[in-house]
Symmetry: none
Subunit: 189 residues, 4 copies
């Protein structure tokens, strides 16, 4: 049962992450439970309250950033320039923004030490990757890991329907603008 329970817990986390991303931070706990195929009691047995769930999902997200950065480092070290694009794609695909939206709005003033630590670790690794990419002229020199995350996060949040309804593929165009903004920039006069 140990492994059973663990699997269930992991599943709740995965489902919660998706729902936060797709339907916003206000998604009802009951909806998350239902979508996870468990009772509301089980959800609360695994995560003491909404904030606890939010924090766990955040940790997963930060770990994903760290691990994607680590892979990028390895490829960039091997002079594979596409390592950078893969990292960027990965950050974008994670729905990083939608998620951090959901999370950020409800994390309390005092962010927990576990999150701070994971955030520091993710930043550190991402900055290493960024350093290599900058050396390879793949990205503008004046951007930090945190700024990159915040930028990707801003761009990948769910779009107001009034906009996204009007033009299919709108999200992709915005991503393209961001990609261009991230490139090494010509000197301004």
């Amino acid at each position: 049962m140990r492994s059973d329970a663990l699997r269930r817990r992991e599943n709740i986390l995965r489902v919660a992450r998706e729902l936060f991303a797709e339907r916003g931070a206000q998604i009802a706990m009951e909806t998350i439970a239902e979508a996870s195929g468990v009772g509301i009691g089980t959800l609360y047995r695994n995560f003491a309250d909404r904030l606890a769930l939010v924090e766990e999902v955040t940790l997963v997200m930060l770990e994903d950033i760290r691990s994607a950065s680590q892979q990028a480092i390895e490829r960039l070290d091997a002079n594979e320039a596409e390592g950078w694009d893969v990292l960027l794609d990965s950050l974008i695909e994670q729905n990083l923004g939608a998620l951090s939206e959901a999370l950020g709005l409800q994390l309390p003033k005092k962010v927990s030490p576990r999150i701070l630590e994971a955030q520091a670790e993710a930043s550190r690794t991402l900055n290493s990757a960024l350093g290599l990419a900058k050396n390879a002229q793949l990205v503008r020199a004046d951007i930090s890991g945190l700024e990159l995350i915040a930028t990707v996060g801003s761009i990948t949040r769910p779009m107001p329907r009034a906009f996204s309804n009007s033009q299919p593929g709108l999200e992709e165009r915005i991503v393209q603008i961001m990609r261009d903004g991230l490139r090494p920039q010509p000197a301004q006069n």
Copy 2:
């Protein structure tokens, strides 16, 4: 009396817009009423329900975009290049993103015809301004008005605290990246 009522209504709209932008889409109707200095009953007399209020605020926002675009057209027509920057600044300062966030997440699948029309009108005017700016090499050629609005909107939404706490001025850096992305881009190989 008519003008009294009209002024009250305008005031509710202004207050609602600010509160949506500052405190998010979840702001309680009662809070809006209170901040507007009217009773909750009066709020509902003016706006049938929450959705109606949201739609009206959206219309105001779209009209602001249209009018800022119109002013930009006049300046660009007069060969004042800063007309473009003024327009961009205006879109950014409107807290367009924070607002559209609040609004967009609750507009239903079927956006009302009035909104579609106002959006079309805003787009049209903005596209004219954009055309002039493109001719003047102030902005990349492959961007539409809707895409510009969506981009500014994405970028100016409130930032998760976990991020903005870590680095003062983070928002400005992201805006800068967007500005660079909006510029005419060098051809990619």
Copy 3:
């Protein structure tokens, strides 16, 4: 409507007081609302949360103690010895204990200033009445107002059913023992 609403509020207080006394501190807020003939929302509009309701009921109780004490003072001043018995009966009849049970168990560590003040005022008045009763040899000399309230309170709390079921009138017997304990006591050797 002002008076309507006030009447409703008073009624909720009265009902809550009775239910706390009869059915204990855990009585559901919904039950109180129902018994008051109002919706749960109305209960919460009048009393921000359970604690607020508890505090208001406590204030009413303390005021009742004060006013009964005041009447006793007047009668004792007029040399009417039964003033004392009337006061004691009044404290007993109020279901003082059942109520203070309900209240006391959930009042927070920090009792609100309003309650402290009402308590001080009730104590002051009750102590004055007690002083007169002591002079008249109606009550033992070594008891304070607070002790009297606590004693009456202890005695008039709801009795475990296993006991009260077994002997009708059990409560009255216990009250009698308390009355005797409150009288001036013969010196102990």
Copy 4:
């Protein structure tokens, strides 16, 4: 194994009794299980539901009363007058009130035959002790065993904080009043 299981069961009972007395009737079953060092499943294996546990604890309490009474009888038979005080102290120290509070409020209208029987047995023994004490002029003549239990129970229940905070030693003063009330009383005119 049998004795192992028995010991476990006894331990749960002991712990439950303490928790009911110290922390009130609302204590969670899970808390009782944890404090007993067993899983919640084991608790339920031993006691079908909360009521069953409550009833068993009540039986233990009644048995304690019986046995303290029996000891008192022996001492009073031997003309040791302090046998009475020891019995009274014992009832007081058992936290009889706190416990019966917790228990009494949740026993159903129909008390189980086992409890009625144990209560009868405890009453019988206590009444014998009382008879001897009355003969020795240690206690008022007009009190029954059940009344004594109920009186001690009333007096030893936990005090509302608003009261006990105000005066250290308040509980002891109330006990003293009860002791005086239990003594042989002078004839009233």
